[in-house]
Amino acid sequence: MDDFQYHAPSSVDGVLSALRGADDGKVLAGGMSLLPVMKLAMAAPSDLVSLRNVPGLSDIEDHGHCLKIGACCTHAQVAASSVVRERIPALAAMAGRIGDPQVRNRGTIGGSVAHNDPAADYPAACVGLGATIITDRRKISSDDFFGSMFETPLEDDELVTAVCFPIVDGAAYAKFENPASKYAVAGVMVARDSDGVRVAVTGAGAGVFRVAEMEAALADDFSADAVAGISVSSDGLLSDNVAGAEYRAHLVTVMAKRAVEACG
């Protein structure tokens, strides 16, 4: 791994100015995505700006209509949080199935959304639950935030500070995981609320996507049978040594059925 200048400022402003002063600066949160990529020489930033000394980014707050989860909350913290388990159990369960315990002890929600790995779990949770991404300068709805693989509207010097998840009537996440890495081969978050139903898919495509046909069917009849006959097209889905595009398309329907059943 190439060397870099390391910074560990103690405020959000300090992070922003370190990023602005760097040629190619990157934020370092849990490092569970960035460091592996740097070790494989697929990224070589000039500067790393660690969030470890920035206070106030690891809080979980209940705002009544939504939960605000600080960007540096680890997956382990979200999985174990009594507030999250009570208010949005599907989110706690999803976080508890990311990677392995050591990945969950270091990896953060902010890093996961900023990275937008096409096989990551949080993008489906955010889009499915209708979360809002909060940065140092603006609020971005999940539908606008998650682009194709690794793409987001974040500026080079922009910091995710929290993610707000609305409290919904019911939600569940079903994932068919890669047995070695635990990343989603296909993962589906289904959420039901007075506004309707949202179905978000990760792992299968080049980025998280919603399935309008399933959402409409579930709004009429919230049952596994309602989605059993709906399949997504395999055009443009991912294909690798674990699963081909057609198999992924099939898994989307199976995971959607399981998620609907688990919603109760």
């Binding site: 791994m1 190439d2 060397d3 870099f4 200048q5 390391y6 560990a8 370092l28 490092g31 569970m32 460091l35 592996p36 740097m38 070790k39 494989l40 790393l48 660690s50 470890r52 382990a76 990677g99 392995d100 315990p101 050591q102 990945v103 002890n105 270091r106 070695a180 890495s181 635990k182």
Partner: protein
């Protein structure tokens, strides 16, 4: 070069490191604590697991500079002289290792589990060891060892 200071196995240790120095390289090369292993370059195998501020982490995927000020325990810090930690004893008694390459990471990970969940079920042990790969044993004896080690620890380290 940034200077780092951390407590390793109860002793304060300082050194100058590069920004890119990984915690595992700091432990193995600067401190000669070679019990912590490196088994992959993809952050998946768990041979490098140590405890940092009471939690198990992959030391191959953590910068030494990010561990500045931390309290780190490695496999070398578990035994009390010749008296092995109960989890180490359990691995020996239950034949939880063959070549031993994965063992330091397995033991450190298992102790973190028992600290959180003093009497894990077999399923919980298997699920917890998701991030620790073993190429030799087939896992059965590792799981037995962890269950026995949990009993012997009597609810915490």
């Amino acid at each position: 070069m940034p200077a780092v200071t951390m407590t390793v196995n109860g002793v304060s240790r300082s050194a100058d490191v590069e920004g890119r120095t990984l915690l595992v390289d700091f432990l193995r090369e600067k401190l000669q604590l070679t019990g912590t292993h490196v088994g992959c370059d993809t952050s998946q195998c768990g041979a490098c697991v140590v405890h940092m501020n009471g939690q198990s982490v992959k030391s191959c995927t953590c910068l030494a500079v990010d561990a500045d000020g931390a309290d780190v325990t490695t496999i070398e810090g578990l035994a009390n002289g010749a008296d092995l930690h109960p989890m180490q004893k359990a691995f020996r008694e239950h034949h939880g290792l063959q070549c031993g390459f994965c063992t330091p990471g397995m033991v450190m990970s298992a102790i973190d589990l028992v600290n959180r969940n003093p009497s894990p079920s077999e399923g919980e042990v298997r699920h917890w060891l998701d991030g620790n790969f073993c190429r030799c044993t087939g896992y059965h004896n590792i799981v037995k060892a962890v269950m026995a080690g949990a009993d012997a620890m009597g609810g915490g380290s």
